[in-house]
């Protein structure tokens, strides 16, 4: 693997003049349970510039920023901010020292007003804990004026758009006299012209001497506003360069370019008959104008960045979100259409959701109950569950998927991630589906269990079952899919065959910003 270090990111550069950098994170390393999340990462920032921090999902961007925030402790390395060591500081110290981090999940109290949220914990006050409301509103108004925006200061933030809430967060950061503001995927929650507003505000902040670290996987944005770009890959800095020294293909190559480190089971198969057609579907979510076809015995991979509409597509196909336009049709089986998950299941669909703890499993209940719940009515006589029939189902699933458990009555929360995932899969297999939607089937699963899940997917294909697989792991998408749909901003950015697909090609399609060309 090529590892380039140059410019300000070079850890072996001569020790810099202290005053030149506002922030230095030097040789940071961090492991979680033996897995190295960050290896010897160095990031240096000069005041008044925008630093783009890019990398694939899981490259270590968030971990690095959590270490900066004092939420995690680095195993090794130092953090120097404004000439002072800060690597042992608490979250509160970090905020007080002038670093503000704006997370994707905004940290606001929804019922409280704009002004109250900006000054939460640092309210202007008279003696005896009486609020100085006059100052509260004047100062809040001044801060918003500095950002060049107008918001009703008395409005509860729950009444604001997400973009406006983000502005309240930025105002909050300014009220803490932040010299450095980290924005973690700020554009992920913004739509259309709101992004331009954010950029003009960032420009405004830079003029005032604030330093910005801008985390994003959207390369267009990085090219629009960053002065320097640091690329993380697999927990390491692979490049840190001025923007002028980079072009798009180079950046994409730096972000990906890894070999497949997994062996994917291969079988030559013929594509079966057409099972499902979706035409121009859209929902209330980000999803717009998506069309697709699903054939028996194939794996249709859905690639795209987090927030590109992949999960929303799965929910729409499964009838969990109502369609606002377009239609979905099952071919065969009376050409059924559906508008609820229950109907979708009857039409032969199954959804194995991404967040199995929240949507896929009753973690406090036994393996037995989890496995038999969807088909319980088939296992009863006069409303009473037949223990023997239940036992047979559990045994069959256990053998077929080699689920490791102490007993059928073991609570699923005590199983490993891989075995939990197998229980979820087994549960849906019992409903005998024709089309299975797998959302991130191997997230949080160890390598061995991954391989078993891949094998199982192929076995299902052999039985003529179609699989729609959503995944953030490109090797998995490329290695397993027969066809790949790349999602970008709620739409299908393109369809690739396995032969056409490569990581760079997919990333390019998934990150190409079409916002600039979209009519307002």
């Amino acid at each position: 693997m090529q590892t380039e270090r140059s410019g300000i990111g070079a850890p072996d550069a001569a020790f810099p003049n202290m005053s030149e950098y506002i922030l230095e994170m030097l040789n940071i390393s961090k492991s979680f349970a033996g897995v190295e999340a960050l290896k010897d990462v160095t990031l240096r920032c000069k005041p008044g510039l925008v630093y783009g921090l890019v990398g694939e999902n899981g490259a270590g961007k968030s971990t690095l920023m959590k270490i900066l925030a004092g939420a995690y402790r680095a195993d090794a390395g130092e953090i120097v901010f404004k000439g002072q060591r800060r690597d042992q500081a608490t979250t509160a110290d970090i905020i007080n020292s002038g670093i503000s981090i704006i997370y994707q999940e905004l940290a606001l109290v929804p019922q409280m007003s704009v002004a109250d949220n900006i000054f939460l914990g640092r309210e202007p006050r008279h003696p005896l804990g009486i609020l100085n409301l006059k100052q509260l509103y004047t100062r809040a108004g001044d801060l918003l004026a500095r950002l060049g925006i107008t918001l009703d200061l008395r409005l509860p933030v729950s009444e604001l758009t997400i973009a406006q809430q983000q502005l309240v967060e930025i105002a909050k950061a300014l009220s803490q006299n932040a010299d450095l503001i980290v924005m973690d995927e700020p554009s992920a929650i913004l739509a259309g012209d709101e992004l331009d507003q954010l950029f003009s505000i960032i420009a405004n902040l830079i003029e005032q001497g604030v330093t910005i670290i801008y985390i994003s996987h959207r390369l267009e944005e990085v090219f629009r506003i960053a002065d320097e770009v640091t690329v993380l890959k697999d927990g390491e800095v692979v490049a840190a360069r001025p923007l002028a020294a980079l072009d798009r293909p180079t950046l994409v190559e730096l972000m990906v370019g890894r070999s497949l480190d997994e062996i994917f089971p291969q079988t030559q198969r013929e594509r079966g008959e057409l099972l499902l057609v979706a035409e121009n579907i859209a929902t209330d979510t980000i999803l717009q104008d998506v069309s697709l076809e699903v054939y028996a015995g194939e794996i249709l991979g859905i690639a795209g960045m987090v927030g590109s509409g992949r999960t929303e597509l799965a929910r729409a196909l499964f009838g969990a979100d109502a369609l606002t336009s377009g239609h979905i049709k099952r071919i065969g089986k009376d050409d059924a259409a559906w508008s609820s998950p229950a109907q979708a299941i009857r039409a032969g669909l199954a959804l194995v959701p991404e967040d199995r703890k929240r949507h896929g499993l009753f973690t406090a209940l036994s393996v037995r109950i989890n496995l038999t719940l969807p088909i319980l009515s088939r296992l009863t006589r006069l409303g009473i569950v037949r223990r023997k029939a239940e036992e047979r189902v559990v045994q069959a699933a256990r053998e077929r998927l080699s689920i490791v458990m102490s007993a059928p009555d073991q609570e699923t929360q005590f199983l490993s991630g891989g075995n939990q995932q197998k229980v979820v899969l087994a549960k849906w297999l019992e409903t005998a589906p024709d089309i299975i939607i797998l959302d991130e089937p191997t997230r949080g699963v160890d390598v061995g269990a991954k391989f078993e899940i891949y094998k199982l997917m192929r076995q299902l294909n052999d039985r003529g079952i179609a699989i729609i697989m959503i995944s953030s792991e490109l090797p998995e998408i490329i290695g397993m899919s027969d066809r790949i749909l790349v999602m970008n901003d709620g739409r299908v950015a393109g369809e690739l065959t396995r032969e056409e697909a490569g990581e760079a090609r997919i990333i390019e399609m998934a990150t190409r910003s079409e916002r600039a060309h979209k009519p307002a």
Binding site: T91, A92, I95, A107, L108, V109, P110, Q111, M112, S113, D116, L120, G121, R122, E123, R125, G129, I130, L131, L133, G148, I149, T150, L151, D152, R154, L155, P156, E159, L160, T161, Q164, L167, D193, Q197, S200, I201, N204
Partner: protein, 326 residues
């Protein structure tokens, strides 16, 4: 920058008032309903609209209302205090025993009762803050324990109020009972507390999103101690008021107050999930319950039907907030 300004301005300007009205519309309906009840009372019963009866309604509302204010503050932080009824019971017993009919013992009795309130509140705060037990569980245990203590102290009336304390119950300023004035003053104080103090803001913040409150460096634990102490104090004060009414330490007092206060708070539009509260709404809830109960007696309605009617009011109120609030 001008375009940005115009963009965001257009979206938000002048909506604060509209939002306020939308959120508080149901509270106006509570008051409209109270007015309706009063009209029914005036037209259907000769005894309802008399100074004597209205003074009674005002007193009874004060008894419920003082605890309801404490309960509202706790619920605002997404907590709950189920122990208030039992604490009222123990308070009336302790104050009656310490007072024992002697004027000289009035101050010690009051101090002892208030101290009891503070201690119970601190214990609640400790269990919730430090041992991280859910407020529902903590105060449920406390309900059972305090009731047990009360009934252990005595299962029949004990102690005695002093003469002045008994006179306090009937004392009036003009036509208004002094106890009702006291409640009214507490309503104003609570309003000011929530609106103009840092402590009040922190109650909203903790109830709205505890994690955000913590990350913003708020004194979450201290605030929680404070709010549970205030709530227990409101119950202790109510125990003292009951003593002035009963004249003796009656162990039958206090049962069910927790549910009545929670009912009043919910009718008043305070969210059980925290982060939203209305003092005037709680006042409305208290008055609605008080007037309903009084009117049903005046009209000679079977008292068991009162429970049914209260239940219907709760469901109707919550349904109303659901419609208007979202």
């Amino acid at each position: 920058m001008n375009s940005a300004a115009a963009f965001f301005k257009a979206k938000s300007e002048g909506r604060a008032r509209a939002v306020f009205l939308r959120r508080n519309g149901p509270i106006l309906m509570v008051y409209a309903f109270i007015l309706l009840l009063v009209v029914i009372g005036i037209t259907q019963s000769e005894r309802f609209f008399t100074e004597r009866n209205l003074a009674n309604v005002a007193r009874q509302s004060a008894f419920l209302g003082i605890v309801a204010l404490g309960q509202m503050l706790v619920i605002l932080t997404a907590g709950i205090d189920l122990s208030v009824g039992s604490l009222v019971k123990v308070s009336i017993l302790v104050s009656a025993i310490v007072m024992n009919g002697e004027s000289a013992n009035v101050l010690p009795a009051i101090l002892a009762t208030l101290a009891l309130g503070v201690i119970v509140g601190l214990i609640h705060g400790f269990l919730i803050n430090e041992l991280r037990i859910a407020p529902f569980i903590v105060t449920l245990a406390s309900l059972v324990i305090l009731r047990g203590i009360g009934l252990t102290i005595s299962s029949s009336p004990v102690g005695k109020a002093s003469r002045e304390v008994m006179m306090f119950y009937v004392k009036k300023v003009g036509p208004v009972p002094i106890i009702a004035l006291m409640f009214f003053a507490l309503v104003i104080v609570t309003l000011l507390l929530l609106r103009y103090t840092v402590f009040g803001k922190y109650l909203y913040a903790i109830g709205g999103n505890t994690e955000v409150a913590r990350l913003s460096g708020l004194p979450v634990k201290k605030t929680r101690y404070g709010v549970y102490v205030l709530c227990s104090l409101s119950a202790a004060v109510t125990g003292l008021l009951w003593l002035s009414r009963m004249g003796v330490g009656d162990p039958a007092i206090g049962d069910g107050i927790e549910l009545q206060t929670i009912t009043a708070v919910i009718i008043g539009g305070t969210s059980l999930f925290g982060g939203r509260a209305s003092v005037l709404g709680t006042l409305g809830g208290v008055l609605l319950l008080g007037i309903t109960a009084n009117l049903l007696v005046m009209l000679g309605v079977n008292q068991f039907i009162q429970g049914l009617i209260q239940g219907v009011i709760i469901v109707a109120a919550v349904a109303l907030y659901k419609q208007e609030g979202d």
